[in-house]
């Protein structure tokens, strides 16, 4: 059964992408095709999860080559679970994007490109989750990265190009580090098959092991946005269209986390760099959340919380115990859903209020109660308010940390609690200012500066080349900002920023397309249902963690026996 099903999560979206490209002239048909493809992927993933949970890991040699030579796809509990969560949120985001596209016509995103690229992205993510050898993992990363480059720079406005370039260069660097690591791993062991590596890497001298492990961890750490390799993320994510940011936030960093899990459990189970990872986790949590508290833009705030909460997962992985890994796996599933949902809500807020800057939003709770509920529920879930799934995930991780008992683990437990509280502070600030505040009093100082920034960023994307070269691109916004600044720093009172009158005001609300609201509401319901399903899900995470620590199910599934050539 697995033999037929396992390649499908990669194949269906790739073929679907080709099909979607062929019918790009018929938007309605193209949308229907993409949704159908992702529904099929979701169905296959769920089936794989049931099979994997029933009979542990299984593998397929694609192309029929004997095992250590050919490409192997491995389905175990962890990869099947990741597939299910990933395809669920991808489907939700796609429906949201379809709603947005149908409402906008083709004014913003060239739709004919969006759908095929999105499907290729899903294929890359699936391939990374299923890959049974390091090089196929690299190919999976490249597929999803290539698609993400296109999605991030869709439409090619100046802001997106600026954010996109940072993202592309950083991702390329991480890919090159990964490729170099693969070369060195092959030189040291003569194989790239992960099951075989699991045995052979352990026979290497300790220094070589640490070198290879740290190279892999650096490569994956960049992708997962682990501090100090996380600075690129809040810089590039907020510029993209809402559905793109949502799927990136949910999936791409988690692919990095998944790869870190595999590295730390399957390839290098010795735990040589665990302490280092612990410190990295602590720094990721605290520095990320401090950044989030400082932000006044909803999307940027969410990007920083994304970085911050990666720290929880790395914490669980670095503990190296079954409880820690189970907590990390559960937290990954929870966080994929929650972060995607929040970014979709940010897209709705932007659509309704015309901006995501909380200084220019206000009174959303009264004017749009549905939107307020859609934001409030996942936001408190992110902060970890009982009894929601965020609380369960954090509790599991903190318990695992306490059970481990070292001083470092207790430091991280304390850091985790502080991060959780600061997350609550960050979302509460957004809530009080964007939703709760009376709409008639936007504080003018920031809105004027933001208006200036907004005006410049709007001037450039029009495609009109700025006449006087670099000076204007660099100089003008700055002087406009400084002017706005000077006018308003003395006292933050004036209600009429005269830089750009329209931008200083709370805009009239635009109606929200039903499909977009429906998709977001569906994902919010999913995040809430994770609370109800937490029992079975945590059980599954426990079993997956057991497999990961045991390692034999993975190796046996690839070679058929425990004897590895």
């Amino acid at each position: 059964m697995t033999e037929v099903l396992a390649p499908l999560p990669v194949l269906i979206p790739l073929l679907g992408a080709a099909g979607a490209l062929l019918v790009s002239g018929h938007p309605v048909f193209q949308r229907a095709l993409s949704v159908a493809v992702l529904t099929a992927v979701l169905g296959v993933s769920v089936a794989l999860l049931f099979v994997a949970d029933a009979e542990s890991a299984s593998s397929v040699s694609v192309g029929g080559w004997p095992v250590p030579l050919g490409i192997v796809l491995v389905v175990d509990r962890l990869s099947a679970l990741m597939l299910v969560v990933a395809s669920t949120v991808a489907l939700g985001v796609l429906v949201f994007a379809v709603g947005q596209g149908a409402a906008d016509g083709q004014e913003e995103t060239p739709l004919s490109i969006f759908h095929p690229t999105f499907l290729v992205l899903v294929a890359g993510v699936s391939n990374a989750f299923l890959a049974g050898d390091l090089f196929n993992l690299y190919v999976g990363f490249e597929i999803l990265l290539m698609a993400s480059y296109v999605l991030l720079t869709l439409g090619g406005t100046a802001a997106r190009i600026r954010g996109g370039i940072t993202y592309i260069i950083v991702s390329l660097t991480s890919s090159l580090v990964f490729l170099a690591a693969i070369g060195l791993v092959y030189a040291a062991t003569g194989t790239v098959n992960m099951a075989q590596l699991a045995v052979r890497l352990g026979e290497l001298p300790e220094g070589t092991q640490v070198l290879l492990q740290s190279m892999l961890l650096i490569a994956f750490g960049i992708k997962a946005a682990v501090f100090p390799l996380s600075a690129w993320l809040p810089d590039s994510y907020p510029t993209a269209p809402a559905p793109v940011t949502a799927v990136f936030a949910g999936l791409l960093t988690k692919v990095g986390v998944y790869a870190i899990i595999r590295t730390q459990t399957l390839l290098f189970p010795g735990g040589a760099l665990d302490d280092l990872l612990m410190w990295a986790a602590l720094a990721t949590m605290l520095i990320g959340i401090l950044g989030a508290v400082a932000q006044s833009d909803l999307r940027r705030m969410l990007s920083f919380t994304l970085v911050s909460h990666i720290g929880y997962m790395v914490f669980g992985i670095a503990l190296g115990t079954a409880a820690g890994l189970a907590g990390a796996v559960f937290y990954v599933a929870h966080h994929i859903a929650i972060q995607t949902t929040l970014f979709l809500v940010a897209g709705l807020v932007e659509r309704q209020g015309g901006t995501t800057s909380v200084d220019r939003l206000g009174g959303l709770a009264r004017r749009s109660p549905l939107l307020a509920v859609l934001f409030f529920v996942p936001a408190v879930n992110l902060a970890g308010i009982p009894p929601l799934s965020g609380f369960i995930g954090k509790l599991g991780l903190l318990q695992a940390g306490v059970a481990e008992g070292s001083a470092l683990a207790f430091t991280l437990v304390a850091g985790g609690v502080v991060t959780s509280l600061l997350t609550l502070l960050a979302v509460a600030r957004i809530w009080t200012r964007a939703f709760w505040r009376s709409p008639s009093q936007p504080p003018a100082e920031e809105s004027a500066a933001a208006a200036a920034a907004d005006a410049t960023s709007r001037r450039r994307p029009d495609g009109v080349p700025v006449e006087d070269g670099a000076a204007s691109a660099d100089g003008r916004p700055r002087t406009a900002l400084q002017d706005a600044w000077r006018r308003h720093t003395a006292v933050a009172t004036a209600t009429e920023p005269d830089v750009a009158p329209a931008a200083g005001a709370v805009r009239a609300l635009r109606p929200l397309p039903r499909t977009m609201v429906g998709a977001t509401a569906g994902l919010v319901a999913l995040t809430v249902s994770l609370t109800g399903l937490a029992g079975p899900l945590y059980g599954l995470a426990d079993r997956a963690a057991g497999d990961l620590l045991d390692r034999t199910p993975y190796v046996t599934s690839v070679f058929g026996t425990e004897e590895v050539p």
């Binding site: 260069i169 170099a180 700025v466």
Partner: protein
């Protein structure tokens, strides 16, 4: 079968030059740096296949003497990926040049804005402590003088009438 020193030297030199170029702010140099780094990595993978040997074709050469074909297959894949990414990066650089007439990595304005923000938040100011002229429109003390002006602004969000 003697180990060669040429490959490691090449790899090291290319990595050094590539990293140097990658750290530049000019995007064209970044692209060149990326190409150099890509080639350095490819050579590294190539050298991981062990010493040089004959072409790995069945029946053409003795299996004892052939070169390891796997790194070569990996490199071919990597070359294709590097090529595609380079083309995309070039297109992005071109687009950036068309849009803003510059091909350097841009600054994140929002980032600067957050960094330059005053420590005191506008929300936290007490209007009563400010000079009367500076108070928020609609504040109790300013209402008396500006009643006329404000009349049509009462229900609307500020500024919306002017749009």
């Amino acid at each position: 079968m003697t180990p060669t020193i040429v490959l490691p030297l090449m790899v090291g030199g290319l990595y050094a030059a590539g990293v140097y170029l990658l750290l530049d702010r000019s995007l064209t140099r970044v692209l060149l740096g990326f190409v150099l780094l890509g080639n350095a990595t490819n050579l590294l993978v190539l050298s991981s296949g062990g010493p040089a040997g004959l072409a790995p074709i069945l029946g053409y050469s003795d299996p004892e003497q052939i070169n390891d074909p796997l790194p070569q297959a990996l490199i071919l894949t990597a070359i294709v990926i590097t090529f595609g990414v380079s083309a995309f990066l070039l297109a992005i650089i071109h687009r950036s040049w068309r849009l803003v007439r510059e091909e350097v990595v841009g600054t994140d304005e929002e980032d600067r804005r957050v960094a330059a923000r005053r420590t005191l938040d506008a929300d936290e100011l007490d209007p009563d402590e400010l000079a009367p002229d500076d108070r928020i429109a609609g504040h109790a003390d300013s209402l008396a003088g500006d009643a006329e002006e404000l009349a049509d602004d009462v229900d609307l969000p500020a500024g919306s009438g002017r749009r």
